[in-house]
Subunit: 174 residues, 2 copies
Amino acid sequence: MQGHPAIIVGYVDAPARSAVAAEQVRGAAHSGVLVSAVRGVQLHTLREVQDLRGFLCAAEFDLDLPFVPKRCFWVYAVPNQQIRGEHAHRQCAQFLVAVKGQLRVVTDDGTQREEFWLDRPNLGLYLPPMTWGIQYGYSEDAVLMVLASDPYDPQDYIRQYDEFLSLTRPQEAA
Amino acid sequence: MQGHPAIIVGYVDAPARSAVAAEQVRGAAHSGVLVSAVRGVQLHTLREVQDLRGFLCAAEFDLDLPFVPKRCFWVYAVPNQQIRGEHAHRQCAQFLVAVKGQLRVVTDDGTQREEFWLDRPNLGLYLPPMTWGIQYGYSEDAVLMVLASDPYDPQDYIRQYDEFLSLTRPQEAA
């Protein structure tokens, strides 16, 4: 681990900088981008429009996202004790929004690790390629919407953390 | 109204073909497209993947949608008695998914009218340009996600039904 800030081993109960980032955004402007300590990860606060008929939150792909998505998926009815993710993508970037309910997302670049609490429908978490991601602690009503930069490709997944580390720390693998 | 099938006047309590379309899809394959009587409107049943860790539903923009979206928005915390929509778009096409909860959508091409009940997160309703749309009956927990073909443009809205009719029935306007 020499030369690298420690990463916290043990995914779920890692204290990390739990929810600190989200708190920082709350204290900031109504919209904006918070840069994470994890390489490339960004927490976006999106515009939210409220009137008597409810709330609306929007993302213009060319303006509001770090990439133009080619795919969208939504995850729901996740039992609270379940953990999802636990992989990285070689090429695909993702933008995660808990459009309903809340969940926690651990992000990890192989060196730094940071946890985010997605608990408002106008928070969007950008995960660049080669980010290890874990989602857990889904509330019963949670719906996670993900905008993805690429079509689905099983070859794009890195599912072994050791392999992920060897790719993100080539100098140690040598 | 001569020469046109009757449209049902009075938006919300119109019996229309309420929820019939959705029932038809339920009885059909696990995925597929139902063509509405309303010009161009389609009810899509999207692929849904279930495992022990919950459900996932996906849309590949090039494959699963009638257009490539440039914008996404989500609507939430809509009081049940409220009505949203009540407009048409000149150019923008939309794909509506109730990713949580349920709501009703009235679609109208100026001649035909049909109502859909979006009550499952794998149902997607395609509204082509020049479709008058009304959403109502949001359940308390409902989240409506909309994929849109164009960036937001207030000039694209037609908010007066009379104007919409004059544009969709030019022969009567003459």
